[in-house]
Amino acid sequence: MTEVSPIVAPSPAAFDVQRVRGDFPALHQGVHGKPLVYLDSAATSLKPQSVIDAVADVYARDCANIHRAVHLLSQRATARFEEAREKVRAFVNAAKKTEVVFTRGTTEAINLVAHSWGRAHLREGDEVLVTELEHHSNIVPWQILCQQMGATLVVVPMTDRGEVLREAFEEQLTERTRLVAMAHVSNALGSVLPVAELIALAHERGAVVLLDGAQAMSHVDVDVQALDCDFYAFSGHKLYGPTGIGALYGKEQLLESMPPYQGGGDMIRSVSFEETIYNDLPYKFEAGTPNIAGAIGLGAAIDYFTSFDARAVHAHENAVLRYATDALESVPGLRLIGTAPGKVAAVSFLMDAAHPHDIGTIVDSEGVAIRTGHHCAQPVMEHFGIAATARASLGMYNTTDDVDALVGALQKVQELFG
């Protein structure tokens, strides 16, 4: 018998957070004379050098419009743009590249579905289901749509820990529910919703499901086929990519059934004043010159992220989150907002001594960047009877040292206000 050597899959690099930190130039600067501690990745993540280089290279070398000219630069730009689409497809495990529509980000992806699917399929008396913990961008487009179509927006309440429970969801799901739009991960609280279970329930009732994946992509595994979601919206800039680029995943037969979102170039096959024939998927939804460099930058961000074992990245972030949760809980007069058992990458809190806005200014003077405010989730604030929180959120480059710096800066708050 011939000795067969075991097949070894190419193993992604072991996760070395110090090496990772070296890849992010923005981390290596001082603010107010202190080293920057960046704890605001839920607002936007920093960008690795490879993404910055990819975007610069598009403008320096392959600066051309796509899907148009026969010249070499246009061919190269088109090829790189479509490669980026393939990277997105593979990253979310969509069945087909044609199911990936580039958008400006999560917000535009949700608006695309609201305008196009919503106006074509929603009838008077229908219901659109959202949850109480949604970001405004997954509330307002549905509110506008419901007003226009005579439909009703129904809200699934969350618990005081910031969870959306199956029972509460089932209670609000009716035979009139045509669409469920919910976050995969809450931006204000970090709660992970049990989306697979909720999607199955919604499908039993014949409802279509859209997931807002803005906060999920870099923190949990996203497999749109395993989830069986009908739409998945996300932004590149929270996945270490550029701002102004994101994508909508949609099941092919749904996208086929939808009218165009915007009219213009690239989304058509032929135009006359009598009749316009629309282009195939996904171009039917991509009117006008897209964010070419952004899409290519997003592809580079996915390349960067997938050069690591995602499980190792998530385990690292979860360990830092546990450390942060324990450290913050031990700060006198500090109260955590959002204590769901399943959380990723974010911790929201209040202090007796000072308002979140004051906390934000004081920790900033210590070099620590956090977000303060209502996090575009005013119904969440309303639930807790508060106007704002301070939120520290994590990226793959954060360490327990960053948490220590935050806790140290919070002592300044106590000193000044206590």
């Binding site: 308002h355 806005h357 003077s365 106007a387």
Partner: protein, 148 residues
């Protein structure tokens, strides 16, 4: 950047213990202010007799800067006439937004403690929320005063 420049004792004190933190009776003007970015709220009521603000009070919630600014404002303008209030707001606004007002600090009295806000552009809206609410209450700005 010296935080003590921003968070002066007077501001911390007024933030913790706002003065005139009540609705005066009687009152004949009222205004509401809201900063949509941070959720700070101010509800202001005052009694205007002729040209003079004879009583004023507010209920609010928000950061130390917004609450302390409104508190010191109510102290500063009680008993003042409308043109005097207008002149004070103008000086205050100049002080927190530019370097030009440096000579006028004496005229502002206690309000001069907000001079440090100038170094924190993100906080100017906090310091002026009460004043915008006042202008709205006096009728020169319609609807709810907002910093946006």
């Amino acid at each position: 950047m010296d935080l003590r420049e921003l968070y002066q004792e007077v501001i911390l004190d007024h933030g913790k213990h706002p003065r005139n933190h009540r609705f005066p009776e009687p009152h004949n003007r009222e205004g509401r202010g809201y900063n949509p970015l941070c959720g700070d709220k101010i509800s202001l009521r005052l009694q205007l007799d002729g040209e003079t603000i004879t009583d004023i009070g507010f209920i609010g919630q928000g950061c130390a800067i917004s609450q302390a600014s409104c508190s010191t404002m109510t102290e500063a303008i009680k008993g003042k006439t409308l043109p005097e209030v207008e002149a004070l707001f103008s000086k205050f606004h100049t002080m927190v937004t530019s370097d030009e007002g440096a000579d006028d600090l004496d005229a502002l009295g206690k309000l001069a403690v907000f001079a440090g806000v100038r170094e924190f552009p993100m906080r100017v809206k906090c310091a002026t929320l009460g004043w915008h609410t006042l202008k709205q209450a006096l009728g020169s700005e319609g609807g709810e005063a907002t910093t946006e």
